[in-house]
């Protein structure tokens, strides 16, 4: 059984971001594995520990070192592959699903493709379903629990988490699964894994290796980036004749502000 985990190199979540000339700027902040993807790696590793098989980490783009792939290797993935496209193409998110889907097909014999629910940089959450569509596989997004995984019967049953409740869903394999953080607690990289990851030479697959043309188009594209308006805070001291008066005013204000 082969499981692919798609991971992304993102900016450290503690970094301060700014917008410069229409692009996001993060100074010399370090790059890390997208935190959501750690849950995906952990889930994949747990499944192979239970049923056998191996986990291959895939990442589209990223720097020369690709911290996401190194981290995935250090956690225990057997193999890592970096997918590379010209920089201007990488900015178009839909190129990434095309590359990931092509890479999954090239690897072959893949039962499951795991993703974190979204990346902390772009926050679109679009890559998992887009990849599933391109592969023509079922997409089980927002997965909070793997209820049953049957590699022989080629099925997977999961629990999906939504704001208003949970849904149990079953799909035939192969399938694409994106996970939320409730699914598990990611392990730390082991020292042995770190040694392996640090010494690993990660193969790079170009568009031509994936039999994709450089004109692969986007279903959508990013037009503009804006910095959200900063929140303003104010303190309002409530006074009144008695505690009941003050409480009444407080409740009224909370209702007005739609807190209650």
């Amino acid at each position: 059984m082969k499981i692919v985990v798609c991971v992304k190199e993102t900016i450290d979540t503690a970094a301060s971001l700014s917008l410069q000339d229409g692009s996001v700027f993060w100074g010399d902040a370090s790059l890390i594995i997208n935190p959501w993807d750690e849950f995906a790696v952990e889930t994949a590793l747990l499944l192979t520990e239970e049923h056998g098989g191996e986990v291959v980490a895939l990442s589209a783009g990223g720097g020369e070192k690709n911290e996401a792939l190194k981290h995935a290797l250090a956690m225990g993935c057997k193999e890592a592959i970096q997918l590379s496209a010209p920089e201007d193409m990488q900015e178009k998110t839909p190129v990434v699903p095309s590359m990931l889907a092509a890479a999954v097909q090239k690897i072959g014999d893949v039962d499951l493709v795991f993703f974190g629910r979204q990346s902390t940089d772009e926050e679109t959450g679009l890559t998992p379903p887009q990849t599933a569509r391109l592969l023509n596989w079922p997409a089980l997004t927002q997965t909070a629990k793997v209820i049953a995984h049957d590699p022989q019967g080629q099925t997977i049953e999961v629990e999906r988490l939504f704001e208003n409740g949970r849904q149990q869903a079953k799909a035939a394999l192969p399938a694409v699964v994106s996970v939320v953080k409730e699914i598990c607690e990611p392990r730390y990289p082991s020292f042995m894994g770190i040694r392996k990851a640090a010494r690993a030479i990660i193969p790079k697959w170009e568009l031509s290796d994936l039999e994709l043309s450089s004109t692969v188009d986007s279903a959508w594209r990013s037009l503009r980036l804006d910095v959200p308006a900063s929140r303003t805070k104010k303190v309002e001291m409530i006074s009144g004749e008695s505690a009941a008066d003050i409480a009444g005013t407080l409740v009224k204000r909370l209702l007005e502000e739609k807190v209650l």
Partner: protein
């Protein structure tokens, strides 16, 4: 000259930082208040491989280099000093004593359980009346057939009630001409009959750690547990300090960083005179000193670690790093309290713990005064380091990651 850490070192630091952030930081205040060590700390550090991080794989270790050990200590002490103390004693003073001076039989017997954290290591040099002057120690070891019989009391011993194996320095030849002569080192198993220990409470700092006393009353130790040769104890004890002090220096550097980070955070949040206090130049000055001291301390300990990797003697460099980093960490923590104002005076914020924790390291593992005497000795040419009969092995990645 390359100032960049390699990938392995960076990943080690990040992994330990994650562990500290997720598992230590949330509860450390409670354990510090209780004056107890979190019972999860040692098993978890063992499970993660931290207790054997920089030991060869064939002795059960993780095969990382000495610079990585420093980075681990920096990260641990940025969380709490008590965690770094574990590494200082277990790895720096105990495991490395065996790695440097032990016979192959001793290494194969004692290092794997220590490296895997099945056993915890300690180091017993200081006595109630012998601290900065270890040659004044009065603990004795008398040969009796195939054993030595150890008597004496040790004081201010980290992990006193946790350690399974301890390096015990005792006087074997009371008639030796030199005060530092006639001393020997032993590997003491603390479950031997006659060994008792206890923790000291009411310490100023490192309250979430174990510090105590160990007493030996007619304890029989097999002669096979003599570390090095008889009469070599003082040299062994001093060489161990090169490793213990290294971990203290690296840890204190982490404390400077933690003080700086906490101060920067608070300075941006707290307003006075209508602006964040970060806008006030006298607050900025404190942050600038912390930033300078952090960088300088880090460079000093990493240089010492690099020399260890190369197999070069580093007594001078390690001492300098220890002196600088511990003095600077106390100052940084004190200034961090000042930045926090009245809030820094309570344990609502962590900086008061930093200040209490920083104080001890200015005393232990060679006080700042001892370090100054050593550095002056080097500068004046009064002191030189002669080769030892056995040196700490250099870091050879192939050799250290060899399975058999």
């Amino acid at each position: 000259m390359d100032f960049e850490l390699n990938e392995e070192q960076q990943m080690v630091a990040r992994m330990v930082r994650d562990y500290v952030t997720k598992e230590v930081a949330p509860t450390i205040k409670e354990w510090d208040r209780k004056q107890e060590m979190d019972p999860q700390v040692l098993p978890r550090m063992a499970e993660l491989g931290i207790l054997g991080v920089s030991l060869p794989v064939r002795y059960g270790g993780q095969g990382m280099d000495y610079m990585s050990l420093g980075l681990v200590c920096e990260e641990l002490e940025a969380g709490d000093t008590s965690l770094r103390v574990v590494i200082s004693v277990h790895m720096g003073l105990c495991c490395y004593a065996i790695l440097q001076w032990g016979s192959e039989e001793q290494k194969l017997k004692y290092l794997p359980p220590l490296a895997m954290g099945e056993k915890i290591g300690g180091y017993c040099l200081t006595e109630p009346d012998a601290g900065s002057d270890p040659a004044a120690l009065v603990s004795t070891a008398r040969r009796d057939g195939d054993d030595y019989i150890i008597n004496g009391e040790k004081m201010w011993i980290s992990l006193a009630t946790k350690a399974d194996y301890m390096i015990w320095i005792a006087r074997t030849d009371p008639e030796a001409k030199k005060r530092s002569g006639g001393m020997s080192a032993f590997i003491l198993e603390t479950d031997s009959p006659g060994v008792t220990s206890g923790d000291i409470h009411g310490k100023l700092g490192v309250r979430a750690g174990s510090t105590g006393w160990v007493n030996c009353q007619d304890v029989r130790v097999p002669a096979a547990n003599l570390l090095g040769e008889e009469g070599e104890g003082f040299k062994i004890a001093m060489s161990c300090l090169d490793n213990g002090r290294y971990t203290v220096a690296a840890g204190a550097t982490g404390l400077i960083r933690a003080s700086l980070e906490a101060s920067v955070r608070y300075a941006k949040e707290r307003h006075t005179f209508g602006v964040p206090i970060a806008h006030h130049q006298l607050i900025q000055q404190k942050l600038a000193w912390m930033a300078r001291d952090y960088e300088a301390a880090r460079l000093l300990y990493l240089k010492a670690g690099w020399r260890k990797n190369q197999g070069l003697r580093n007594t001078r460099e390690t001492g300098l790093a220890k002196w600088y980093a511990t003095d600077a960490s106390f100052k940084a923590a004190s200034e961090a309290v000042q930045v926090h104002g009245g809030y820094g005076f309570s344990d609502e914020y962590e900086v008061e713990r930093f200040l209490r924790n920083a104080r001890g390291a200015v005393i232990y593992e060679g006080s700042s005064e001892i370090q100054q005497i050593l550095q002056a000795g080097y500068a004046l040419g009064y002191r030189e380091d002669r080769p030892l009969r056995k040196e700490l092995p250099p870091y050879d990645p192939d050799e250290w990651t060899r399975e058999e």
